[in-house]
């Protein structure tokens, strides 16, 4: 591994894997996501163990408003699709399209966050607070951890857009874009599980 | 193998000679502890065999193949040996099978539920910081610190904690079970012989975890019936009405005797006949084998009532000063309690 390539506009086919640093980053990030799977797996386990301990708080079947949660799900799924387009644009070395798709991705991410904050606010006003019951504690921790991941992703991708403007698409910036996109998919997958386990199962039983 | 067997038998003998009969797991006093001890013996025998084989090979190798001074030879680089590797995979598997089968048998055997058995004595054990409450729901009787059970019957325990997690353990009668807050566990024990056995808390529960001892006393079924009757009898209060009033207002706010007071703190009915005060201060005038440092029940009671924190740090009992008890009152209460014995 000798010098970096700084040549603009002349990128290899998969710029994120062109250097050893890039390959390390991609591999390391997949391993990190493995750890994240365990993290969310544990949060899910705790939630499933405690979800019937509602005590005096509002019952999930009354609390959850499926239409809103469904809208949030759709928004996040769409943003995940946008991030696929972003990576495709990157592979075709189309800077403008890449930035455009990234931009749409974070706008949708922000919309999701907005809905979630609104949702949490409504719940708190209905008496479903962090300290209400074991159900509420594990609910806010699980869904809140996911929300924090979305928020971090939005900040991260925004920073990468700024870097794209400044540095262009290089073998240094490409792996970062690629990683943020895997991360975004991962958050999306976690949400699908939250939607099923927390909201659908909460509505049913 | 033939040479090892007597060695093992000798070791088992040596082990079983160890420790107090009322405390040691190696000198079981009941069928549950006996079954556990049998499992221990199987596993110790197998494991001793393994250890002997490994040690023998180890010593042989280290002596036989040590490098002589100036030795520059390169030993043959052996990749492995499939036959050997299969042997030391299969033999341990067989050994584990020998241990595994009785393990599973006893796991299910010991989990037998006697809570619906009419002949079994039901005892609800509630652990507190740092004392034990024993409730007999069949009889409507509650006692503390000293579990009284009849011999020859299954004692079916329901275990729960009132505060933090503790563990209920009478080593010479049977293994332990945790008392969890909020959910109860079940276990059973049997006491074939009359006697007093030492019980311990086995789960870290705070400063006085080490001192959270209790006693299990097994008596004949007739004696047990008399004890139940005595427990249900009306309380015998102090003769002196002034002292009785002090006792009622200062002590019975948390404690109970007979039909008086509440069970927020250890039940004191018949405390004068118990082996210990606070589970750890042995009463020289009660125990069968008093030690030189043991004091009388009255002295122990006075020590405890005066400054409980000194005896059991972190416990909930207020000191005599906090309770505004005069030395005379302490003396009177101690004497009254020491004389409070049940006839059974």
């Amino acid at each position: 591994m000798s010098a970096h390539q700084h040549v603009e506009g002349h990128l290899p086919h998969e710029p994120e894997k062109a250097t050893l640093e890039g390959r390390n980053k991609v591999l390391g990030f997949w391993i990190f996501l493995g750890a994240e799977v365990v993290l969310f797996g544990t949060l899910f386990s705790a939630f499933i163990a405690l979800r019937h301990q509602v005590l005096d708080g509002p019952h999930p079947s009354h609390l959850f408003e499926l239409p809103m949660v469904f809208a949030a799900t759709m928004i996040l799924l769409t943003s995940s699709l946008m991030s696929v387009f972003a990576v495709q644009a990157m592979h075709r070395n189309k800077m403008k399209a890449l930035i455009g798709w990234l931009f749409v991705t974070i706008i949708l991410g922000l919309a999701f966050l907005g809905l979630e904050i609104y949702e949490f606010n409504t719940y708190v006003s209905e008496g479903h607070k962090m300290n209400t019951s074991a159900f509420s504690s594990s609910f806010y921790t699980l869904v809140g951890f996911h929300g924090a991941h979305v928020a971090f992703g939005v900040l991260w991708i925004s920073l990468l857009i700024a870097q794209l403007f400044k540095k262009g698409l290089t073998v240094v910036t490409a792996p970062k874009i690629y990683l943020s996109m895997i991360y975004w998919h991962f958050i999306d997958v976690v949400w699908v599980f939250i939607f099923t386990v927390v909201y659908l199962m909460g509505k049913v039983g | 193998m033939k040479r090892i067997l007597p060695l093992l038998a000798g070791m088992a003998l040596l082990l079983s000679a160890c420790g107090r009969a009322d405390l040691s797991t190696l000198d079981p006093q009941g069928p549950v502890a006996q079954k556990q001890f049998d499992l221990m013996k199987i596993s110790i025998s197998i494991m001793t065999l393994v250890v002997v084989v490994v040690f023998a090979i180890c010593v042989y190798v280290l002596v036989r193949f040590r490098r002589r001074k100036g030795d520059k030879t390169i030993p043959k680089q052996v990749e492995g040996n499939h036959k050997l590797e299969i042997i030391w995979t299969v033999i341990p598997l067989v050994l584990l099978l020998i241990l595994g089968v009785p393990t599973i048998q006893s796991v299910f055997g010991m989990a037998t539920d006697y809570s619906k058995d009419k002949n079994a004595i039901q005892v609800k054990v509630t652990s507190h910081l740092y004392w034990w409450e024993f409730e007999y729901p069949q009889y409507g009787v509650t006692t503390a610190q000293e579990l009284v059970v009849p011999t020859g019957k299954k004692i079916s325990f329901e275990l729960v904690s009132a505060d933090v997690k503790h563990a209920f353990w009478i080593p010479s009668i049977g293994g332990k079970m945790d008392t969890n807050p909020g959910s109860s566990n079940r276990m059973y024990l049997e006491f074939p012989k009359e006697g007093v056995y030492r019980g311990k808390c086995a789960e870290l529960c705070g400063p006085s975890h080490a001192l959270m001892d209790f006693k299990a006393k097994s008596v004949s079924p007739e004696s047990f019936d008399r004890w139940i009757a005595a427990m249900k009898a009306p309380a015998s209060m102090p003769a002196d009405p002034k002292l009785a009033e002090t006792f009622r207002s200062k002590c019975l706010a948390c404690h109970a005797v007979g039909d008086q007071g509440t069970n927020g703190a250890p039940n004191l009915t018949g405390i004068g006949g118990r082996q210990t005060i606070a589970g750890i201060l042995y009463n020289s005038d009660v125990v069968a084998d008093p030690q030189p440092e043991d004091k009388t029940t009255v002295e122990n009671l006075k020590e405890w009532i005066t400054d409980p924190q000194k005896v059991k740090p972190g416990n909930q009992m207020p000191s005599a000063a906090d309770n505004q008890l005069t030395p005379e009152e302490i003396d009177g209460i101690a004497k009254y309690l020491a004389g409070y014995k049940l006839d059974y």
């Binding site: 750890a35 005590l55 | 107090r20 490994v54 180890c58 293994g175 529960c205």
Partner: protein
């Protein structure tokens, strides 16, 4: 080592990188060898702290009803002893060996993520510091290293003690997780040409599997600590029975992490022993492929046996039976390893260096710890052993008799490679014999104390229970272990004063790549990345009559990552935030987090172009 840095220059490259000397060099280093030394230094200091706590515990238990320390102080001591030894002493010392050796063993110039490596060290260090600051603020964790709720919950533990445990471990845990990811990626991606997975040295294999365990076990602890922290700080109800919570859930979470943690500790020791025994018997490791298989199997089974720590919790006979059998099965691959070591020695030419003494001392000792493990696996018998001194004896046999003997073997073995100086063999052997004898004296009798009815974690015990003599013996043994440790420190100090003259192949019988380069290695490790032609790559070349490895690349300038102060500052940010959370000062918490985020921002925005070293020029200048 700093001299390399001083002469480094940006050869044929426009970026200039500031290189530091002295203290700043150590605070900014991203060199795995220096990070290894930092881990060793910090880990060993924590080892001394934890050892001191152990000595105080043993003084208190020397006689019945002793009042050397108060009951609550004793609980603080036992909690901090366990937590310190496992998270702040044993694991960092393992990370020290990993950092010092792994890149060298696989023929790499550094780890995959040098910056993260430094970050991992500093987060561990500040996490450990935070935990130990509790001694000075007066509220020390006192609910045991397992922190069972409700004893560790807000209702029964109102002071900040357990907060130190929760937040200290959370911060230190970040470092461990980063280390696990880093070494996994390093071992997968950075092996020298020709080094296939089945040509990796056994230590590398052990660290690879350990890293996998870290990656999959530590997030569980993270969640558990978050839950207990939310309970304590935000009145959440994860484990509060009154709020619908469940204390047994904490036990599950803790042990789902905690049991793999045991293997995170012991597998590296297995790796060390495999290297040391093979080297000093001048023989290749017997049954290499079955060793690899055994280690993978142990790791796999390690995830499915957690409930054997909870046999008395009341999980019911079905769970207890399944976990009994699963636990017993681990004995099979472990036995395979034991016999493979013995047969590595068989027919060899065994040299009893200090390192090898520790290694061959490890084998029987670990067997004793292993067989008591099988005994504990039998659930009905465990109802008697559980939470008694029998368990204390068992896990000290595994952790001290296994891991610490392994670490000592590794330190004596790789010391010349890490520092370029040989440790004194006489003092080393004295260390071994005092420590080894002291160890068995301390812990062998504890098996019997447990069987005689002595519960663990007891501050004191009543007289006339048959505990007196064995407790006294145990305490005397602890002092002997302390003396052994002091002899080791003396040995290190003496070695420090000697010239740095260790040979490249310091033990002459080295088998793996680290012995093919100078002791200590240059900053870039390998002038040319070597070509690996088989297992025990360096031994193979030596046997073929060669004096150096065949290079896999031409000579040329070597690209190096730049040093950075950011890892240190990021960790300080987390450290500050930790105090903010604990004392509910949201400004301080936010400020600390902000510091960390700003560092992340800077790291992302300013690219690290690194610098180049020309090894040829270096040699001329030297």
């Amino acid at each position: 080592m700093a001299t390399h840095a001083a002469h480094a220059h940006a050869h044929a490259h426009t970026h200039t990188v500031k290189r530091y000397k002295g203290l700043m060099d150590w605070l900014t280093t991203v060199d795995h060898k220096k990070i290894g030394i930092l881990y060793l230094l910090a880990g060993f200091i924590f080892f001394l702290v934890g050892g001191l706590e152990a000595i105080l515990i043993r003084i208190q238990l020397m006689k019945p009803m002793n009042d050397f320390v108060a009951a609550d102080t004793f609980n603080e001591l036992l909690t901090m002893h366990g937590t310190t030894m496992i998270f702040l002493a044993a694991m960092p010392m393992l990370f020290a060996l990993m950092n010092a050796v792994i890149p060298l063993q696989i023929g790499a110039r550094d780890v995959a993520f040098p910056f993260l490596n430094a970050l991992g060290f500093w987060t561990f260090f500040f996490g450990g510091l935070l935990l130990n600051i509790s001694w000075f603020t007066g509220t020390v964790p006192d609910a045991g290293w397992t922190s069972y709720v409700p004893l560790a919950g807000p209702t029964y533990n109102g002071t900040h003690g357990v907060d130190y445990y929760v937040i200290g471990l959370q911060i230190a845990g970040i470092g461990t997780l980063l280390g696990g990811i880093n070494f996994m990626a390093t071992i997968i991606n950075m092996r020298a040409p020709g080094m296939s997975f089945m040509r990796m040295p056994m230590f590398t294999w052990a660290i690879f599997i350990t890293s996998v365990l870290i990656v999959f076990a530590f997030p569980v602890l993270t969640v558990g600590l978050v839950a207990i922290m939310f309970d304590r700080l935000f009145q959440a109800n994860f484990f509060e029975v009154g709020g619908g919570g469940n204390g047994v859930l904490w036990e599950h979470i803790f042990w789902v992490f905690g049991h793999p943690e045991v293997y995170i500790l012991i597998l590296p020791a297995f790796g060390v022993i495999s290297e040391v025994v093979a080297t000093f018997a001048r023989k290749r490791l017997f049954g290499y492929s079955s060793m690899v298989f055994a280690i993978v199997l142990i790791a796999f089974l390690g995830f499915m046996v957690w409930a054997h720590h909870m046999f008395t919790t009341g999980l019911g006979p079905v769970a207890n039976a399944l976990f009994s059998i699963a636990t017993m099965l681990i004995a099979v691959p472990t036995g395979v390893k034991i016999f493979n070591w013995l047969f590595t020695l068989w027919g060899g030419s065994i040299k009893f260096t200090t390192a090898n003494l520790f290694a061959v001392g490890f084998i029987p000792t670990f067997v004793l710890g292993g067989v008591t493990g099988v005994m504990l696996a039998s659930a009905p018998a465990d109802y008697q052993y559980h939470d008694s001194y029998f368990v204390v004896a068992h896990f000290h046999y595994v952790i001290v008799g296994g891991l610490i003997l392994g670490i000592f073997a590794g330190l004596h073995y790789w010391w010349p490679k890490m520092f370029g100086r040989m440790l004194n063999e006489g003092l080393g052997k004295l260390t071994f014999w005092t420590f080894f004898t002291g160890f068995h004296l301390t812990f062998f009798v504890q098996h019997f104390l447990g069987l005689l009815g002595m519960p663990r974690r007891v501050w004191t015990y009543l007289p006339n229970q048959g505990f007196e003599t064995m407790n006294l013996i145990s305490s005397i043994g602890a002092f002997l272990m302390g003396i052994g440790t002091i002899v080791f420190v003396v040995n290190v100090i003496i070695a420090w004063a000697k010239p740095r003259n260790a040979a490249a192949d310091a033990w002459e019988d080295g088998r793996t790549l680290e012995w093919s380069i100078p002791s200590p290695p240059p900053e870039y490790n390998f002038k040319q990345i070597p070509l690996v032609r088989g297992l025990d790559a360096w031994w193979k070349e030596k046997m073929d009559g060669k004096t150096a490895m065949t290079p896999a690349e031409p000579l040329g300038p070597i690209h190096m990552p730049s040093p950075s102060i950011l890892p240190l500052i990021m960790s300080i940010g987390l450290f500050i935030a930790g105090f903010g959370f604990m004392y509910q000062n949201h400004w301080v918490a936010a400020g600390g987090i902000l510091v960390t985020f700003v560092c992340m921002f800077l790291r992302s925005v300013y690219d690290d172009h690194g610098f180049h070293i020309d090894p040829e020029e270096e040699e001329v200048q030297a």
